[in-house]
Structure formats: C-alpha cells, structure tokens
Amino acid sequence: MEYFAHSQKEFVYKYVVMLSDVDQFKHMSFANHLKLMFLATDALFVSCLKGDFLEKNRFKLLDSRMQFKKQTTAGDQILIKINSSEIATARFSLIYTFIMEGSGDLVNLGRQTYEIISRNGGFKRVVSEVIGPVLNPIQVDENHLLYKY
C-alpha cells in the first residue's frame, strides 16, 4: 500500500473540550474555537523553536479567520492539524484543520497570517532565515488542497 507522504506533514495539537469551554447549551463557543487556534499556534512555536528566539522576537498577527463547521461539546477530543502556506520574505500563513478525533468530522477551518518582529529595534525578520526549519516541513500549496481556508 502506498501513502501520500506529504499529506502527513503536519503539526498536530490535541485538545479535549472542557466544561469551562462550553456555554449554557453545552456547546463550545466560537470564541473558544478561536482561542484554540491560538493555543495550537503557541504549541507549534514553543515546541519547535529553539533557544531564546521568543525572547528576541515576537509574532505579529496580520490576519485571522475561521470557518465554523460543527458544534463540539464537553469531552470531545479535537485534533488541530497545522500546515504552513504562502511563506514570503516577511510574512507567512498557517492553515488549521480541526477534526473530531472519534469520528473524523470536520469541526473548523482556520487561517492566520503572521510577521516576525524583532523585539530589539522592531524590524521585520526574514521568515525563511529565522523559522524556515519549522515551517518548511509542514508547508503545503494551499491552492490545491481539499478544503478552501
């Protein structure tokens, strides 16, 4: 059997929906889904960036969007797959695919675009130079993916 190796090149973050995440109707709110996107981003950078990178640089969010597809409730296990896309000189995008671990149902599609700014001087950093090794292995061509983010 053959596997498409590139379709497995992704960073995966797992989250279990807690009682504190749900509203009076027992559904996780849209705001919490957004929060989850940022948690997954933090997990990616904290686990993949080495040394004092985060002390010397900060990420500036330029654009963030999300397409909500399915409700989740307390106890649901959500897998958030992150891929990088459109890596340019001074900016890059991350695309997020939220799926339910048990059923494989699509929960959300998200997209964020970032710049990297030096804390010392506030100048823009060249993305490929500073975090290329983190983004390149999970890079996809967004225009040819199954979902539109």
């Binding site: 059997m1 379709s7 497995q8 699509l106 979902y147």
Partner: protein, 126 residues
C-alpha cells in the same frame, strides 16, 4: 467515460472532489452512506471507489468489505479502492492495511496528488 463512486457524508469533501473529478473527465456517482453505495455498485458499472473511513451506520472499511464480497459472488473483477480519513488512527490504519486498498489518504490532501492517484488506479496514468 469511466465512472467513480464517491462515498462520503461530508458536503464540503463531496463538492470539492466531485467538481475536480468532473473537470478531469470522470463521471462521479455520489453516495452519502455505505448502504447506498452497496446498492449502487449492484446497479452501476464502477471503475474506482473513493470512500471515507468514518461514516454513520456502516464504516468505510465495512462498506469496502461488503462490496468486495458481492463482487466476488458475482465473479466480477475487483474494483480498485481509495480510502480517505480525517486523522491517523492506528487501529483504523491497521485495518485499512489488512484490506490492501489501492491507496490511503489523509485529509486535507493535495488535490494534484489525489488526481494522480485516481488516474493511476483507474488505469489512466500517463
């Protein structure tokens, strides 16, 4: 024109794949559950099956097993299958591997690679 049976319960996936395969030049029959797909394979002449693993009522793996059983009973030729899944579950992976399907894809996959796989397994590879 070759016919592809697409079995998935997710509208977004159906829409995207159906549009793409039409564009490439295949006839696509969509079934939203395994039972519907089994019925369809009895009526239609299918050249390739693309099936999601996680579906309500009958899973993709069980659907493939039943279709194979029926094809074998009729002494028909085995139809190549491509399985799709939203996540990498080890138990499901192992089951799919035992099934020895033609290909196995993780969503969200690259559509160009997907078309290449379809062409390869349907017998239209360049």
């Amino acid at each position: 024109m070759k016919t592809i049976l697409l079995i998935d319960d997710e509208d977004l996936v159906i829409k995207s794949i159906e549009k793409l395969l039409h564009k490439v030049g295949y006839k696509v029959i969509v079934c939203r559950c395994g039972f519907e797909a089994i019925e369809c394979t009895q009526k239609e002449n299918i050249d390739l099956i693309i099936c999601d693993i996680r579906m309500p009522n009958l899973s993709g793996v069980d659907t493939i097993k039943k279709i194979r059983e029926m094809t074998k009973q009729k002494k028909g030729k085995r139809i190549p299958e491509i399985l799709m899944t939203g996540y990498a579950d080890q138990a499901v992976n192992a089951e799919a591997e035992r099934l020895e399907v033609s290909d196995y894809l993780y969503k969200p996959f690259d559509l160009r690679a997907f078309v290449a796989s379809v062409k390869k397994h349907i017998g239209d590879a360049e």
